[in-house]
Structure formats: structure tokens, C-alpha cells
């Protein structure tokens, strides 16, 4: 674990692998250093995975509390990476950040991968596209987030983590999860997990884009994902079989296989 300095902000950051940079923008919890997909991804390039302010070991400045802050922070992170072909990969809530980032068309962005992202509103005013993270029973959230909750790697947590709390967890784990949950809420309580204007600007995304979706994601469904992809010029859409909202955790091999060709240089 290293630390990245971006302007006045300090971000706890994982760096593994070498080669073309792949910037990971995490979702509910920071990328876990032991997540099996991480080592596989590191074979494709230099993986850079910061923790957002308020998550993991990254401090939360007193007035840092909006998506606007996060988008500008990650634009600054991109500026700080000395390469012109950075792949940005956003997961879940981080997929929303990545989509906002790509709409701004930063010059260092080479390609975009969105993994079960939230961030847009498609259906009618009485229909929800995104299951409410903070107002759903944790057991239900856990059920909706995994094809098989038993496949969650030990010590690594996704959405519905509250249902998996046990006395075997360390105090540090509980404190970290609580802090991440608080920070997520700060950024995304209302409107819940989306920017009402984002969908009308997705057409500005000019880089090769791939959306990856867990076949059985019941937090944001694959149909929502297909509609999301249709709003981005030349976006590909692929499903990871037998996975829920976190395909990178539930089916790491299939997940990496689904993006390997897309990451190949010269594409």
C-alpha cells in the first residue's frame, strides 16, 4: 500500500504490475490487495487503485462531500499519471465516477471499463433502477448482490456486507466498513446513486468503452446495463456468467477474461 498525493489530498493507493496504467475506481469498499482478480489484472499493466477520501486509509477533508469533488479529484489523479493511454475501470459506485470522468473527456483517458455501474436514471419516476443501498434490509441486499454469497472471498466485502458481520471479524475490519459506508452515504444519498443529468451527456464519451455486467446482478440489472451501454457511442457490453453485482470478486477468471482482449495494445 502506498500513498498518492493529489493537490491537497492524500489517497491510500495500491500499485501492482507494470506497463500501461489501469486506474481502478472502487465501489462500496476499496479494492482489496488480496482480491484474486487484482493479480490477474496486474499481468495486463500497472494497476493503480486509490481509496476515495473517507474510504480505507484515505482521510476525508471537512468539506469534501460531493460527486463534483470526486470527479475533479479523479481528473487530477489522471493528470498525475505519466501516460497518454490510461484505462479507467470503475466498479459499482466507482463506475458512476468513471462515467462522469469520461464525459469530461480528459486527454490521458485511453479506454473505459464500467463494471455494474450506477450513476444514471432511466426508468419512470415511480420505478427504481438501482436498489436502495441504505434502505434495503442487509440480508436482501446481500442476496441481490451475489449469485452465490458463499463465493465471496474471505475478508473481502461487497454490497450487503452487513449481513456477513460475525464476531470473527476484527475491530479494524468493522471500523473500516463503517467508515466506508458513511462516506458512500455522504456522496450518494440523494439522488440515490445517480446524477439526473448524466445520461444526456454520455454521448460525449469518445474513448473505446466496455460495460461488464454480472449475469445475475439484482442491484442493477443487465437490462439496465444494456440500456446504459446504448447511450455511449461504440460501447461494447458483455455479461460475466454466474455472477452478481461484483463479477470481479465472484468470477475473477471470467471477469479478467472478459476484458483481456479489450485491454490489448493497438486496439
Amino acid at each position: 500500500m502506498t500513498s498518492m498525493r493529489v493537490g491537497p489530498f492524500s489517497l491510500e493507493t495500491i500499485r501492482v504490475g507494470t506497463g500501461r496504467p489501469i486506474l481502478l475506481i472502487h465501489g462500496v469498499n476499496p479494492i482489496h490487495a488480496d482480491a484474486p482478480f487484482l493479480a490477474k489484472l496486474a499481468a495486463q499493466g500497472e494497476v493503480i487503485a486509490p481509496s476515495h477520501p473517507g474510504f480505507g486509509g484515505s482521510p476525508l477533508p471537512p468539506d469534501f462531500d460531493t460527486m463534483y469533488d470526486l470527479v475533479n479529484l479523479y481528473l487530477a489523479v489522471l493528470d498525475s499519471i505519466p501516460a497518454d493511454d490510461v484505462t479507467v475501470m470503475g466498479f459499482c459506485f466507482g463506475g458512476w465516477i468513471a462515467a462522469e470522468l469520461a464525459v469530461a473527456n480528459p486527454k490521458r483517458l485511453g479506454r473505459l471499463i464500467l463494471v455494474d455501474p450506477v450513476g444514471i436514471k432511466l426508468s419512470g419516476r415511480e420505478d427504481r433502477d438501482i436498489v436502495h443501498y441504505f434502505n434495503t434490509d442487509p440480508a436482501e441486499l446481500n442476496r441481490r448482490s451475489w449469485r452465490d454469497p458463499a463465493r465471496r472471498p474471505a475478508g473481502i466485502y461487497g454490497l450487503g456486507w452487513q449481513a456477513t458481520i460475525s464476531d470473527a471479524m476484527t475491530d479494524q475490519e468493522m471500523i473500516a466498513l463503517a467508515r466506508n459506508w458513511d462516506s458512500l452515504c455522504l456522496y450518494a444519498w440523494k439522488p440515490h446513486m445517480y446524477n439526473p443529468r448524466l445520461k444526456d451527456w454520455l454521448h460525449r464519451i469518445g474513448v473505446p468503452t466496455k460495460l461488464i455486467w454480472g449475469e445475475f446482478d439484482a442491484v442493477v440489472t443487465p437490462d439496465f446495463g444494456r440500456a446504459y451501454a446504448s447511450l455511449i457511442p461504440a460501447a461494447e457490453f458483455a455479461v460475466v456468467k454466474d455472477a452478481g453485482h461484483h463479477p470481479e470478486l465472484e468470477q475473477p477468471e471470467e471477469f479478467v477474461a472478459a476484458i483481456t482482449a479489450f485491454l490489448r495494445p493497438g486496439r
Binding site: 441504505f134 434502505n135 458512500l184 455522504l186 440523494k190
Partner: protein, 393 residues
Amino acid sequence: MAMELWNHCENPYPFVPAEVLDAAPSVRASLPNKYCEPEIAAQLYDEVFEEYQHCDDIGLHIVTNEHHSGINNLWAASPVITGIVARLTKKVRILSLGTLVTVRPDPVRVATEYASIDVLSRGRLDIGFVKSGATEMTSGDANPMRIREREWEAIDLIEKALTSNDGPFSWEGKFFTHAHVNIWPRPYQSPRPEFWAATSDLPTCAELGRRGIINTLLFGGYDRTKTAFDTYKKARATAGLPEPGEDRFSYMAFCYVGDTDAEAFRVGQKIPWFLTVSIKSAPQMAKFMPGQIAPEMTPAAWRAGASKRPTDLSVESLVRQGQMFCGNPDTVVRQIKDFRQRVGGVGRIILMTRQGLVTHAEAMKSFSLTAKEVLPQLQGLGPVDLDMPTAAQ
């Protein structure tokens, strides 16, 4: 010292079948309103307003509050209810404790509502602030993060709106913006109605002390209440401000006054319904709601068997912990005097009597006894004897 007694009723709705409540994940925020029968609710409103009018006749001040979407409280909009009480009463003071400023989008509108009530009551309004509980964040769709800061900014804006008399001002704060603030009418009281805040959060108590806002604790018991009041006093002393009088301190407890201790304990046992039934909340609206406790406190709250909910909710236990005053009038006087000693002085006691399954007739009887036989014995009290044993000792 002349102690004030206040009657607080949340107007609970204890008529939903037990099997419905048992099956529901939460009796607040998400319980379908098909279980609230309007005819019964109308009867409850009539009864409690009649109790408030009785309090006006006999000299018990009145507290209203608001909670939403649950069996614990039919006062869904404190300013609406307080406005009605202001018109139904003539003499006593009325405290709105309060509308939920962390949920309300526009503090200027809150200031306008309160100023109107102050005028129509001819200056009998006190304004109370509460941070709100977790289920209120759900029912009010209000971000539960940073609500302490949001509450203070709301209070600041409300205060400025109530006390500005020379035309529009603008507000561009972190949580609220309002380009043109100029409320009509201005409050009847000058410069503004008294402010109260309900909290045992120590940094907040300190800030209340520096501002001279009345600090009330709800069911805090001896130790937490004394710690809060001491924090208030210390913050004032540190800031070089005068020592606060007992009128800056308030305490809310359950209460039933009967002809005999036995009668009071029998009826009083209907009150802890508030704790046994009306608090049940789904986990996402309770221990997993963001922002409710510091992350460092979560292991203590989340580990198996970590529930802090008291298991013994008998009247005897609640009385022993200073969370209930119950008995014949002399017994209750003794309990309140003892409480005052043990927390180092408190001038305004709020009594929660019409709670749970207590009936209208039972409540009316307790109010009469409280006003006639308890209140007179709490006038002309000497200073708190600081040499007497206190909770901290």
C-alpha cells in the same frame, strides 16, 4: 428556585394488532398507513388536545414534537400541532421540541412558522431543536451524514431570520442558501423565543452552554445527565461566561402520579410500551444507518449480544435509574428533588405521561394530581446542596 413542570405527549397510536407489529420489520418509517384508522386518530387528537387545555387550566406547560410514519407519534408536523395548541390555550408556555430541522429543506420556512405561532400565542412559544433519529432520515429522505453541522447551520439561519427586523438579508451557507430572507410576522417576543435543544452529545452540550441555549436530556438517567450538564457549565466557565441558572437545564422522564404508589406503579407500567414496542426499527434504519455512531464505536454496537437496550423495563427499574418519576404525589416530589440534587440542579422537568397504553382518563388524573400536589412542593426550593452525594460519587 421555582421548578417548572411540562407535559410532553407524543400522541402514540398503540392500536395496531400485535401480530402485525410482530411481523413488521419496523414499526416506524415503513409500517403501512392502512394500519392507522383515521377515526381512531381523530379521537386521539381530540383527547390529547383536551389534555393540553386541562394543562393550561392547571399550570402545566406543554411540549409537542414530531416523528413520522410510525406508531409512536401522530404529531407529524410540530408547527401545525403547536399552532393549534397556541390557539386552544391562554396561559401556559408551549415548547415545540421540535420540527426536525435536519430533515426540513428550508430553515427560513421553519422560522416563519415559529414566528407566526409566537404571535398568535402572544409570546408563549419556546423553540426546541433535535438532531433526529435514524428512522427519520429514512422517512424524511435526508442525508444522515454531517447532520450535526447541518443542524447548527439551520439553527443559525432560523435565529438570524427571527431576529432580523430591517429588511431582507441573504444566506449562502454550506447546507442552505436563501437569497432573500425577510420573514413576516416577526416574533412576538423580542429578540426571539427561547431556544432549547435535546441532546446528550457532549460537544453539542458544550456549544449549547456557550450559546446559553436550554439543554434538555431525554431519559438520560443520573450519570449521563450530570455529565452533560457539567459539560455545559464547564464550557461556559472556560469561555468566561456567567454561571448558568438551573433554568438552563431540563430533563424528560416518564411519569405517572396516582393517589397511591401502588396505583401509580400499576398504571405507570403501561408507559414503557414506548421502549418495548414503539422503537422496533429495521437494521438499515437503525444500527446500519450511516452517521449514527462514530465508526470507532461500531464493534461495540455490532458484536453479538452488544444491544444496549435495557432488559428490565419495570417501573421499579426505570425509577431506580432516574428515567421515571412514579408514585403518589409525595413520592414523586421526593424522586424529582433527589434527581435535581444528583445532577447538580435542573429547573424544567418534562413529564411523559400519556404514553403507550395509558388512557385519556388516567392521563387527566395524573395531570391533576401533578399540578395540585406535586408542583406546589417544587416551588421556593433552596440551592442544590453540592455537598450531598451525587451520581458521580
